[in-house]
Symmetry: C2
Subunit: 335 residues, 2 copies
DNA sequence: TTACTAAATGCAAGCGGTTCAAGAATTTTA
DNA sequence: TAAAATTCTTGAACCGCTTGCATTTAGTAA
């Protein structure tokens, strides 16, 4: 029982027209007499014809598919971006090839390669470890690329994100206004420019502006896990921190629970502000105050931007870097 | 500046062989003299040739791409499955086209259609609302399909999941052993056979076995959100429930916090068991006892099963339905 | 050496569409 | 009503690669 498919040929024969004509009606080309169009459509319907996208892709050199390189779908932060991406992608009739990279440079390079081989029309890249090699590969590929929720430190690739520096400044300022002098900066790897560069800069800026001396002992570089936060309390206590800015929600939940389990009262004795306003912030008690990032929108805007690039629409009016507004929501973990 | 690509033709010319030979070395066909192979590989390397997967797909009728229909990537449950799927997919050199359906029958049908148009080699479907129309569409498509973490009530489509009935039986038995007589059954839509059929059956079985009469008032059908659980306490209280089995972690977190906020002591005054053992269960206090499902593995096994079907490997020894073992982990929300 | 078999390689026909130059049909213009 | 201008259609050349079959080359036994 072979997979017996119906081709444009069958439709053409059955409708007594050329395949070129069938192709035109399928593609909505206006140069078709209404009567002919109707006839063809009827046959298409009757035969249940479904154009072969692969053949189409070969002939037209467009696959209506974009590649999405994501560190880990399991992470709410990235999943939210991905959802925004997929939604506007399907709005524009594109599909998404999703590939997990674990933020691993080698996998990223390898995945990028197969995506290009599959002739995707564009690529959305998440993950912050922009190595030079990767940047070179991007440059060589003539395929449009945009970074979502990530930054290219060298600013060569288009990207969509929030102003991380300003967001942290706002959060830390709030903490200072509550009388805190020793505020911990807790984040994932500082090798990620979002942490090591932009956020840290914001943190330092505010300290300086308020005449507080920067203390390296208050900077905690960990990984992005709940567990990492949970075991952090002793260190925070011995650094005499009275508040913390945290760069990731899971991490922040860990810090919160770790402190609570040690008998600390939140926010009376220790305040916490986190960064992504994911569901987690509302599930813990007290709920976490958080910087808010429009994750879904970052994804959506990235994809929209990519469609422009793919259609060679004029993007000259657009910046290479799009900054979306962040926000701040106060909950129980701050005074 | 046109996208100047290098084709198999260029390689053939440059290496002074026919394109057939180049094709053979690219595909690892053994019928090539080592010397020739070496020569060709050198040219490929020098020209940085990358085979066009679309053309390949057209000629070979294989795209090494599978479609994944998912209700919502943003949901940890599905994201975990997806991760398992992608990992074994890439292990077998497949890529994943990920499409969100919101569990909406119309979107599902539409997505399925475009996936078939894109000639995916197989499909993994998540979501439990197997309408007859969808089943018909599956049947007509000669493309292999497997359901991951979902069940086909009519058992026509291959699927991978756990024994929901037995899992609930174990959980509820535990609750009864702690002396509870009035145990609530809280789940998402009962129209989903996992809830309305398998889980509910398990619940009733155990009650019957222990001589407890089934009380419809203890069955709470809500949606899968945190909020839905949070507001449920008053209803639970007036139904005089002293414990609950909950079919979803977010929902369970809501129930937990709702009860706590009402001053109830967990687990002393109310016990809770949830179902998916996601990260959430460890983030709330007390932590939630939970049935454990090997989500990643369900995804992984589904994909592995699909590869077998795609390669027309003999699957006769396999059941149409694969049941993976579930587990149970006791935490603070039960005595 | 010669005849014969096995291993390498080349040829060319697809795969199922898109697209453009060119021809046919229809409508408009004078 | 014939010529000119439009509007529709068609024929056929790709798109880049796979693959069955024919052909050439190399290897082996007689």
């Amino acid at each position: 029982m072979e997979k017996q498919t119906i081709t444009i040929y069958d439709v053409a024969r059955e409708a007594a027209v050329s395949m070129a004509t069938v192709s035109r009606v399928v593609n909505g080309n206006p140069n078709v007499k209404p009567a002919t169009r109707k006839k063809v459509l009827e046959v298409i319907d009757r035969l249940d014809y479904r154009p072969n996208a692969v053949a189409r892709g070969l002939a037209s050199k467009k696959t209506t598919t974009v590649g999405v390189i994501i560190p880990d779908v399991t992470n709410v932060y990235f999943a939210s971006l991905a959802r925004g991406i997929d939604d506007v992608a399907s709005m524009y009739k594109y599909n998404i090839i999703l590939a997990n990279s674990d933020g691993n440079a080698q996998k990223e390079a390898q995945v990028l390669n197969t995506l290009l081989a599959k002739q995707v029309d564009g690529i959305i890249f998440m993950g912050n470890n922009m190595t030079d090699e990767l940047r070179a590969q991007f440059a060589r590929a003539k395929t449009p690329i945009v970074l979502a929720g990530s930054v290219d430190a060298k600013n060569e690739v288009e990207s969509v994100h929030v102003d991380y520096t300003a967001a942290v400044e706002e959060a830390v300022t709030d903490l200072i206004n509550h009388g805190n002098k020793r505020i911990a900066f807790i984040s994932g790897p500082l090798s990620d420019p979002i942490n090591g560069e932009y956020r840290l800069k914001g943190y330092k800026n505010v300290l300086a502006k308020n005449g507080i001396e920067f203390d390296q002992d208050l900077v905690f570089e960990t990984d992005y896990s709940y567990r990492a936060g949970e075991v952090l309390w002793p260190a925070l206590a011995s650094a005499k921190a009275t508040a913390a800015f945290v760069g990731d929600d899971e991490l922040a939940c860990g810090v919160l629970n770790g402190a609570k389990d040690a008998g600390i009262k939140i926010p009376e004795e220790f305040e916490i502000i986190t960064s992504n306003n994911s569901k987690l912030t509302e599930i813990v008690r007290p709920q976490l105050s958080s910087i808010t990032q429009p994750l879904y929108d970052i994804g959506a805007v990235s994809m929209r931007f990519l469609t422009k690039m793919m259609n060679r629409e004029d993007t000259s009016s657009d910046q290479k870097t799009i900054e979306l507004p962040y926000g701040y929501i106060k909950r129980g973990s701050t005074k």
